[in-house]
């Protein structure tokens, strides 16, 4: 049950963020490609901030192996990640608009699904999928920025995780080398640090412009 009306929620955000920032956040649309350790955490931060609309995608269900780092609960095992994420996000901020796509993203459907987005967060697990998403947005969606993550496995080395502007439409967070290919495990804190970098880069883009 919501204890704040939409108006009260907006007033709270304006008080915290200022009217100008709130207006920009509320007017923006962000895509989240993949709802694992990165996407589930990026989405939660953006919803708390009052980003007006999210377009979220994943084809998978919540599995036991996800719980060590992804923003899901035990009682959500077996649920599809899109529905579980919508439930979690709405419990934080019921007034955000969320469009969910339970589908596997491809070079063909990405431009259609993410068409309304100013920014797309690349939150996949596999390096191949990351490549596909970045290449597709950069070559087929000329007004959209990608905020990706690469190199966040393992533990420690918090300060090795960076936010780098690669070109005018691509930002990559991570240390660029700690991949699962090296046999490194994925742990909640380091994945969440990279997700925090992504969320922070997205907020900066929305507030300060591209």
């Amino acid at each position: 049950m919501s204890k704040l009306t939409r108006q009260q929620f907006d007033e709270m955000l304006i008080e915290r963020h200022g009217a100008d920032v709130h207006k920009k956040l509320n007017a923006s649309t962000v895509g989240i490609a993949g709802l694992g350790g990165l996407g589930s955490n990026v989405a939660a931060a953006l919803v708390r901030m009052g980003v007006g609309r999210l377009i979220i995608t994943d084809f998978d269900i919540v599995e036991p192996s996800n719980l060590n780092r992804q923003n899901y609960r035990l009682d959500q095992l077996g649920c599809d990640k899109v529905q579980a994420t919508i439930e979690n996000l709405k419990s934080i901020n019921p007034y955000v608009r969320i469009d969910g796509f339970l589908t596997k993203l491809t070079g063909d459907n990405i431009p259609e699904i993410f068409r309304p987005c100013d920014i797309v967060a690349e939150c996949f697990d596999s390096a191949r999928a990351k490549q596909m998403l970045i290449e597709t947005v950069l070559t087929k969606m000329e007004d959209t920025i990608v905020v990706a993550a690469s190199g966040l496995a393992g533990y420690g080395r918090s300060n090795a995780i960076k936010t780098e502007k690669i070109n005018s439409r691509l930002i990559i967070t991570g240390d660029r080398q700690s991949g699962i290919e090296k046999g490194l495990p994925l742990f909640a804190p380091r994945v969440t640090i990279a997700a925090g970098h992504q969320g922070n880069a997205i907020i900066e883009l929305i507030i300060d412009g591209f």
Partner: protein, 69 residues
């Protein structure tokens, strides 16, 4: 003698400039499935790597991705 600037570093290719982008990636032992390639500011789609002919003096950015999320 041909020179390519790859990720900011000049690389000399005496007479054996790889004919195309796919050849360059093979030469550098870079997995083409996990790299986003940019030549002189233009992103090259993976499906075009073989037909993208390289030329002396090009600036090539190879953005390598690693897994985890």
């Amino acid at each position: 003698m041909a020179v390519l600037k790859i990720n900011g570093q000049a690389m000399d290719f005496a007479d054996d400039l790889p004919g195309n982008l796919a050849g360059l990636l093979e030469h550098l032992k870079v997995d083409e499935a996990t790299v986003v390639a940019e030549i002189d500011g233009d992103i090259i789609s993976r499906s075009d790597f073989v037909e993208t002919v390289l030329a002396d003096g090009q600036k090539i950015e190879l953005i390598k991705l690693v897994g985890g999320g």
